[in-house]
Symmetry: C2
């Protein structure tokens, strides 16, 4: 249903877009109220919002002529899983090292 048309890694590569996400963690905000916080033009922000939406990071809540942007938890899933993969990699590696030290405690001793 929510066909991702934009890579989430790509989406958060831009500092302005990361800033927008941070702003939305505070509260939902209209497009214009977001744009006010930036030096770049309103259409530029509009594009960033579009990207964030297409990447699944935000949803909209229409209110008259205003469009409020709301953070969307699932948007962060892909990244979280990616990080988790490497986290597990390190943990696993640490586990192996511990087992090794249990069996060969001598390794921990200085060579000389």
């Amino acid at each position: 249903m929510t066909a991702l048309q934009f890579d989430s890694f790509q989406a958060i590569a831009d500092p302005s877009r990361r800033e927008i996400l941070l702003m939305l963690a505070g509260d939902k905000k209209s497009i214009n109220s977001i744009a006010e916080q930036f030096d770049i033009s309103r259409p530029a922000i509009s594009k960033h919002i579009k990207v964030l939406h297409q990447a699944g990071f935000i949803t909209f809540e229409e209110k008259g002529r205003e469009r409020y942007c709301i953070l969307r938890q699932e948007g962060f899933d892909e990244l979280k899983e990616w990080i988790n993969f490497f986290d597990n990699f390190w943990k696993e590696r640490l586990g192996k090292l511990e087992k090794l030290l249990e069996k060969n405690p001598d390794i921990a001793k200085k060579k000389k």
Copy 2:
């Protein structure tokens, strides 16, 4: 000491670079052995490796004329913290909701 000259968000925005990191989770690899796995040219891979290094994701182990790339755990820290921020945001929000329901159990009931 390790002056980051490249943004880590930017570094993982490129699919090839993410792929390289995945490859290195298996084992350390020489630049050429990495390049072999890709369709793009060796110099292109060389550049990607440089970026990953400057962003702190990998270190090198020189072995004669070969240069082995090794995953570096700290490189992932910035990202992990970023994700954690939003994770805490959701958890906190959930906590607030639970407290609210404790005090006003009626909210959970259907309106009609």
